[in-house]
Symmetry: C2
Subunit: 214 residues, 2 copies
DNA sequence: CCAGTTACGCTACGGCTCGTAGCGAAACTT
DNA sequence: AAGTTTCGCTACGAGCCGTAGCGTAACTGG
């Protein structure tokens, strides 16, 4: 009943500096030791904070790491307007790959996704902190392309579910391809590769609109 | 000098039954407890094997789990010939998704990929045991499509690197999209979604061939 | 049949990390 | 000044890791 967003409660407030220091220390430790050897004791020591303070704010390793990497997604992901749908896709692919190439994110992102496979709360947290933020870029990119006339506008009445379904497909293809290229194939995402992926998508997307009978 | 592949060495041979029991126990424990709570002591107990036996054959959790899930990929992944490239893609996507929906693979695959981000030996092992096996399906699918005339044959002299590059792109897009759909978006890969992905790829692939100037 | 060699099961151990409890001091509200 | 919450610190039991040591089992070559 008494937990409004910015509720000024009684007692000593939590240090915002400590929050920042802990998340930064988590990313640093993650980059050096990876997920497997990351210990909360080490993070606390790096942040200059008692281990108990850490446990007061996060339930465990999973939640802490999600917040630590979510901060990176928040400040680094945006959709540049490069004039055409193809160029926009290429641009956002390169940005996303750059983010994935950081040593902190490389191991952390896959690890938390793995843990989320049998942890519903964690999966929800990832969705809100990371996935929805990315998915929004797809919707934005589609709207821009429709304004430019590169893609036919929504025909509302026809098939009301086709639009969001297409967005979801594009999202999984773009994000999935980049992640797979970087993490599994472990080959570089350069302008050439990003360009080919963009061509594949733009052409294929046009095909999806004409073959709507599926 | 004396280590031929099937070298009959002196001494008591390693039990093949124990190998199978350990890998099966690993998959069972993985399905129940997930990656994070998986302990090698538990695996040994389930397999009816001493913990030391486990350490004599595998260096650690990572290597063991890779072998345990690789066995599933080996016996379950093949490319059905369904008459057209689009149908073939749709078929293999559905098979791959079915494999990813198993509780053992859901968490294990992402976890070992995460660990491989800073473990070169593990990355190589994953590549040989899992990735190359999948990639072979792409090459096979392309050859079939070329024989059917759905895709122009290799023009050898023109751009010798374009063919493999296309294969790699398709591989990352297909595998990445399925993994992302299942693990991140956590939405089902049904015939409808697989069909849309197949259309996107077939149409886009044709576009890649015409716009070879990239 | 008899060494020689290797794998196995079992027990035990030090070492590390986890997550929590308890304490006194600090910071902030009323 | 009193009340409340956080903080740093120390200490602790619990669990798992990975290894060592031992006696036994299985298989090979002389």
């Amino acid at each position: 009943m008494c937990s409004s967003p910015t509720a000024k409660r009684t007692g000593r407030p939590r240090s915002a500096d400590a929050d920042r220091a802990i998340l930064a220390a988590t990313r640093a430790a993650l980059a050096e030791q990876g997920w497997g050897r990351l210990t909360l004791g080490d993070v606390a020591a790096r942040a200059g904070v008692a281990k108990t303070t850490l446990y007061r704010r996060w339930a465990g390793k999973n939640e802490l790491v999600v917040d630590a990497v979510a901060a990176l997604f928040e400040e680094q992901l945006e959709l540049p307007d490069l004039g055409s749908l193809q160029a926009d896709i290429q641009g956002v692919v390169l940005r996303f790959a750059e983010l994935l190439n950081r040593p902190e994110t490389r191991t952390a992102l896959m690890a938390v996704i793995a843990e989320a496979a049998h942890d519903d709360a964690l999966r929800l947290r990832i969705r809100e902190a990371i996935v929805d933020r990315q998915k929004h870029l797809v919707v934005l990119g589609r709207k821009r392309a429709q304004q430019r006339g590169e893609i036919p506008p929504e025909d509302g009445a026809a098939d009301s579910a086709a639009g969001p379904a297409r967005d979801n497909l594009i999202f999984d293809v773009v994000a999935g391809a980049v992640v797979h290229r970087v993490m599994v194939s472990s080959e570089p995402v350069d302008e050439e590769w990003a360009g080919r992926l963009a061509v594949l998508l733009v052409v294929g997307l046009a095909g999806l609109h004409t073959a709507q009978d599926l």
